[in-house]
């Protein structure tokens, strides 16, 4: 299943080979740890076991930043 996600201000298409895709699967496919990343669906924070529905507006937020001095 292909899903569109917004990540770091850009749109991306993820191809995840699964029937039911959860928020955690999205984090995993972007190689992100839930320790520093989370998923918002239609503007609301969702838990990792949330199952993605068609037409969901998905945004991934990665909290890790660098380059601060």
């Amino acid at each position: 299943m292909k899903i569109k996600v917004k990540y770091r201000g850009k749109e991306q298409v993820l191809d995840i080979n699964k029937e039911k895709i959860t928020a955690l699967d999205i984090l995993k496919s972007l190689n992100l740890s839930s320790e520093h990343a989370f998923v918002a669906v239609n503007g609301e924070l969702v838990s990792e076991d949330y199952i993605i529905k068609e037409n969901d507006n998905i945004k991934v937020i990665n909290a890790i930043s660098g380059g601060k001095q």
Partner: protein
Amino acid sequence: MKKLKKNSRCTICKAKGEKEKAIIYLPHHRLTLCKKHFISWFEKRVEKTIKEFKMFSTNDKILVAVSGGKDSLALWNALTKLGYEADGFYINLGIDQYSIDSKELALNFAKKIGRELHILDLSKEIATIPQLKEISNRPACSACGTVKRYYMNKFAKEKGYSIIATGHNLDDEVAVLFGNTLKWDIDYLKRQYPVLKEENGFIRKVKPLCKITEKESALYSFLNNIDYIEYECPFSVGASSIEYKEFLSRLEEKHPGTKLQFYTNFLKKMYPLLNKEKEKKEELKYCKICGEPSYNEICSVCKLKQKVEKLVNTNYNINM
């Protein structure tokens, strides 16, 4: 998010007999919270940190170093909500699209909370970061850190601010602490404290988010609809601090509380030992040219300026 079970209820709401749905589980604090209570937990934690380290009071005029990122905007938002008088200071570094985007986000946020945002254009003061990188032959981040510290301090003094607040979070502090410990860089470890006292022409610098994790800060920004710059400064890519953060995150996942403990125990147990001996301090001078505090006759920013001027005079083309 992490280990948040389906249909979990907020710990605080539950105690009050309410039934608000939880949105986050904070394993290192063993708290499950709803949106409203996460926001108030965050602000209380910032307030507690300010008091614990005696950072400032409501009588102080605070200048927040604003980058347009989640941490500085979250800090500015929280300070304002807590009743502190805090304005923003944005340095336009001239780093292509990154600077254009982050400046706009900083300006929009200032408007939203109704506070003043001072903007300093680095290209007018000295040169842009890409130009300085070329000229100084130093990594961009090192030149950037030097000029930011310099202009922040100088500007705050000129405008009568008594405090400079930066958005460094727990993960930033832990990554730096980890790096300095790996190298046993005693000189840096000695200075790693969330408050740097005012002395010899330096204004007091504080880090009120030092006990807030990066994720908590991102979440706070998200829940408050704060628009911040979501991509990194192009020069920071590949920085070792990011590598340390990812490594420490994996450790934290297995052992919640590791980061906070590493940091707070350093402050409690190690920092006092390192600063026990009254060593003879390196004598601070004042720059012959600009009068700002410096360890040399001429400060590093004035030295950079001389290099820029020299290149301009020899008609060197700085094309960035």
